[in-house]
């Protein structure tokens, strides 16, 4: 068990409320003591040292800090860590396995879906939630789904292409798995 008390406060005080939470991040369960005001984004970045989740605007606009809570995209700068108690969190580190990239990551690589890369983790997780629900989205549906994620390199064109390519890749992968199963 790790104490995350120091993430938001260096002085200890008996008045500081602390809550014990259990949260599963990328399949690994953590039991942690947190102050209620600790934001999920900071739990992930400072507490668990998973710095792939970026904090950009810090005001619920840019979507760089997007993670999946039970598969649903959420801006982690706008959710308290205590609210993740008992839930499954997926960050960008949870996409690739040790040996291969996720089809979404392959899509972004092949279509040059990033320039500086700051918005990319949020873009990919939002895309994952979209493709899990809708494996064959139209370009409009992709643009609509990504409209809460900002890219300041003006790279939307390639990001949309990346997601469409990822969708193709995922559908092909599913077909292969179905063939192998039958």
């Amino acid at each position: 068990m790790t104490s995350l008390f120091e993430v938001v406060s260096t002085e200890s005080s008996v008045d500081t409320p602390i809550r014990r939470i259990t949260v599963t991040v990328n399949g690994k369960q953590h039991t942690l003591d947190v102050e209620p005001r600790l934001l999920l984004a900071h739990l992930i970045r400072q507490g668990l040292e998973l710095t792939g989740t970026h904090t950009g605007c810090d005001t619920t606009s840019c979507g760089a800090c997007t993670v999946l809570i039970d598969g649903v995209p959420v801006k982690s700068c706008t959710m308290l860590a205590v609210q993740a108690d008992g839930h499954d969190v997926t960050t960008v580190e949870g996409l690739a396995s040790a040996s291969e990239l996720d089809p979404i990551q392959e899509g972004f690589r092949d279509e040059h879906g990033l320039q500086c890369g700051f918005c990319t983790p949020g873009m990919m997780l939002t895309a994952k939630a979209l493709l899990d629900e809708n494996p064959n989205p139209t370009e409009d549906e992709v643009r609509w789904a990504l409209s809460g994620n900002l890219c300041r390199c003006t790279g939307y064109q390639n990001i949309v292409k990346s997601v469409l390519l990822a969708a193709e890749g995922l559908r092909a992968k599913d077909d292969v798995e179905e063939d192998e199963a039958s």
């Binding site: 409320p17 005001r37 600790l38 934001l39 810090d58 005001t59 619920t60 609509w144 409209s147 809460g148």
Partner: protein
């Protein structure tokens, strides 16, 4: 950015939440979706001593019609639940038009309709929708429940009539008199921005005759504007290009926009009239559609 220090409770029932609210004696805030409250706390515009997180209370994540047509939206119904409900367009066309225009897709996965109403932001979209629909909010306190009309609910920017020991448990839209029609249009500079102008229109028809009508305006006044005066002009009539025009002009007169970085006063008034006309024209019989 961190919020100021606060204590946190996650009650398992409405009764427990109400009791905690009472014990906090006005120093607590209710946390539902948190998509407005948490940013305000981070910016230190709000610093409640205690947050009462209602997300663990079972049975509040619903939206459905009673057999008589009364529509209920529970305190944990997220914007996305409404957006993805394919039946909503036929049951609640004004709500169905507004749901995909709230904030952005990720905010919609957390934010709630009831929470938006309680946040009472003068630029909130749901308040004008509910005002057009003649909706109300049900609040539960230590002595039971009471219903508050959405028009009387808000007393000023970010202020409403909820007592400190009351929890808003659901929003209610009354059953339509006849068939329900309507829409919501919003002008925004980009996804996630506040409305430059938002117009909610609700019309109920018996045959071709209007039995009830409501118009709510967002972003064109110090608070949500209920343009009921404009809407009631239509009651008892069949919709036609003339009365649509008159309603649009009157709604624009009732609006109180101010010139700012989102547009001039004249432009915003013009958009109010344009949106009223667009929504109502779609409800005309196909032979007499206007621009």
């Amino acid at each position: 950015m961190y919020p100021a220090r606060f204590d946190y409770a996650a009650p398992q029932s409405i009764e427990e939440a109400v009791e905690l609210l009472g014990r906090a004696n006005g120093e607590a805030k209710v946390l539902a979706g948190g998509q407005s409250l948490v940013p305000m706390m981070k910016l230190r515009f709000a610093s409640p001593e205690m947050l009462i997180d209602i997300n663990n209370i079972p049975g509040l994540a619903y939206h459905s019609a009673d057999p008589d047509g009364t529509y209920r939206i529970g305190a944990l119904c997220r914007h996305v639940d409404l957006e993805k409900d394919e039946n909503l367009a036929s049951q609640q066309p004004t709500m169905a038009a507004a749901a995909p225009l709230i904030a952005d897709p990720i905010v919609r996965t957390r934010g709630t309709l009831v929470g938006s109403l309680c946040h009472s932001d003068p630029q909130g979209d749901w308040a004008s929708v509910m005002s057009a629909l003649g909706g109300s909010i049900v609040a539960q306190g230590p002595n039971g429940r009471r219903s508050i009309s959405c028009i009387d609910f808000v007393t000023g920017p970010f202020q409403n009539v909820l007592e400190f020991d009351e929890l808003a448990v659901e929003a209610v839209v009354p059953a339509p008199v006849g068939t329900r029609a309507g829409g919501y249009l919003k002008l925004e500079r980009r996804v996630g921005d506040f409305a430059t102008v938002g117009v909610a229109v609700s019309i109920e028809f018996s045959g071709t005759q209007v039995t009830r009508a409501g118009i709510g305006l967002t972003g064109v006044g110090a608070s949500t504007i209920c343009a009921g005066e404009a809407a009631t002009m239509l009651v008892g009539q069949d919709l036609n290009a003339d009365n649509i025009d008159r309603v649009a002009v009157l709604a624009a007169e009732i609006s109180q926009p101010r010139s700012d970085h989102r547009g001039s006063e004249a432009y915003k008034r013009h958009m109010v009239a344009t949106f009223v006309t667009r929504i109502l024209s779609k409800l005309l019989p196909t032979t007499q559609k206007v621009a």
